[in-house]
Amino acid sequence: MAKKKKPTLNFATDWSYAPAPESTDHVTIENRYDLFIGGKFVPPSKGNYFNTINPATEKRLSSVAEAEKTDVNRAVKAARTAYDKYWSKLTATERGKYIFRIARVLQERAREFAVIESLDGGKPIRESRDIDVPLAAAHFFYYAGWADKLEYAFPGRTAEPVGVAGQVIPWNFPLLMAAWKIAPALAAGNTVVLKPAETTPLTALKLAELLRDIDLPPGVVNIVTGAGNTGAALVNHPGIDKIAFTGSTAVGKIIQKAVAGTDKKYTLELGGKAANIVFEDAAIDQAVEGIVNGIFFNQGHVCCAGSRLFVQESIHDELIDRLKDRMETLIVGDPLDKNTDIGAINSKMQLKRINAYLKIGTAEGAELYQSACAVPEKGYWCRPTLFLNASQSHRIVQEEIFGPVLAVQTFRTVDEAISKANNTPFGLSAGVWSDKGAKVFKVSNQMRAGVVWANTFNKFDPSSPFGGYKESGVGREGGVHGLLPYVRLT
């Protein structure tokens, strides 16, 4: 007897969503930006500028200054002067009030920041509007409140600022990472020199304008744009007391080595290859949503992305069917369209890396599956991708791809899941899906990861500490623990 055709669902419907573009005419992007040092925009010493483009259209958005060693030096000096002469002398309450201002004005200008974030970096406007910008404002609001309450944060200790912090942030959450770095630093009484990523400098520069508008004392925050050389100059500058770096594990190791022998404090928030573990007793549809959120949020450009799916073997087929159905409804496209789920890959280079992994995975023997969605012609795009039947020894399972690519493996027992999840040099995050509370606590207790999401994924809050075990980094951001790196305790 012929096998009955498996009932399928058709998501290519006659009723499709019309373009719903976010308006950009209320947004101001200057033709060119200088460096923000000592409360003013100043030209770079050698007069060099580089372009920043929109990865969805490959069109130029603006030019930003390239900071040389001399410029970095100026910025560090300005931060030091601001610290010595003003910031360290201000009462903690007044310091907090400046940071509250940042939070409130960021809320007032939220839409402009969201649009520029999407234009510059490629992430969907829905995410920058609903997640990045609100979280950034909330982060400033949270830490503003700590400024005059440090005596309660560390039992038995008095907290003093460290001094001048040098901060280097990545391109995947440009504004949010700037908030994660600047807010606790200022709250604890430090001053800052921050270098945004070279492909996404714009929201940091708009933030600089905001800081100037709220009358933040000059030099308390300085923004120096540039690429790897600028970052190295900042990290290596002797006038920096503390380094905060978020980026790749490779560069993190370089930094850790570079500061050996110095007194510099440092925190590193590096790469990850998180295990997302779904047990047979999970609420299956919500687990699918968590998987989707875990790997396709922000095009998978997330250090804590749930990039290794572990499914209990008994539910594998059923779960993958549902996952594939869900992937059919994900819209890849113009980041400024309000219906876009997956935006542009941040840069040509990153897309090349991802495509290289797609080849590697196929060559290694994993089964590649992509949704059937259309992608625009110009720009950098990657469809949501699964690698089925992946194994622990595959490179696509061991190495961080940093794209919308999920490696899928099965497991049979709780202990096997725990063991495979931990079998990696990374340790940033993990996901556990089960309806059984005791199991959730047992598994999360044994995850060697700094953030464990149980029956949810990719949840962030300024009060919730974030950071990795092992090669995913050292130190925590967010919450009380996020103050520790920015204080000296006596």
């Binding site: 009955k4 498996k6 009932p7 669902l9 058709n10 998501f11 290519a12 419907t13 006659d14 009723w15 499709s16 969503y17 019309a18 373009p19 719903a20 829905r126 609903d130 007793d281 609420a283 299956i284 549809d285 919500q286 687990a287 949503e289 968590g290 069917d321 159905d325 409804t329 309000k338 219906n339 309806d435 029956n455 949810t456």
Partner: protein
Amino acid sequence: MISFSMPASRTHPLAEVPTSPSVDQTGVEERVARFKTRSIKENAKMGALELILSMIDLTTLEGMDTPAKVRQLCAKAMHLHDELPGLPQVAAICVYPTLVGTARNALTGSGIKVASVATGFPSGQMPLKLRLAETRSAVSEGADEVDMVISRGRFLRGEYTYTYDEIAAVKQACGDAHLKVILETGELQTLDNVRRASDIALYAGGDFIKTSTGKVQPSATMEVTLVMLQALRDFYRRTGQIRGMKPAGGISTAKLAISYLVMLRETLGQDWLTPRLFRFGASRLANDVLLQIAKQRTGVYQSADYFSEA
């Protein structure tokens, strides 16, 4: 005499129904929130509005309903807003059994269906014998569709075989009429219960599963609707059978209805975007949709003064 006792040699058909998956409420709420961020504009919005109109069951279920009230509702159904040409018709009128005949006569030749509530609507607190008699009566009066209520007390006590059996019995009493099974999700309270009741209703033969009577708060919500749509989807994938769904009560704005349509599209896809398989149980929704259609066509915001009440 109707008896539900089974001979010892047979197992109850409920044993064939797969265990319902558990549902995480927070996860459902987050998925729903994401549906609501979809921005439906221009021709997509127009298409949605017209589709919604064609899916409405215009409803009157008041203790004080009279034949005249029902005739006026039917007149509205047949002339939603003559100033706007090319509008689709609503799917059905929904009334109490005593007014089915009136509705039938008033709708002659229109193609609009007559749906009747039955089985002791809205509480269902009535002996099964009488509920079945009411069902047969409504069908003989001319109802094309019957909206029944399940016995929530029995269900909440865990008497799932009873739930299965009462639905199967009402389905039988319907004859050719379509059966919608009202779960009364506001009384079921948890999404786990909604899912379990949905699965039982589908396997017991319900053509549609419906959220609520509209007499209990909360009535339809996007959360319970999503869970019910997922039940439909899993039922289809397991059995190949296609059934429908109706949220009722609490959907009074076009904007909200469009979010429901987005949810339907992204959960079940093309084949379910039809009044054959999806209905809105509503009364005020129709006029809000008409206002939005008029606004789309003319470009100006409208006033309720210009649209007839039902």
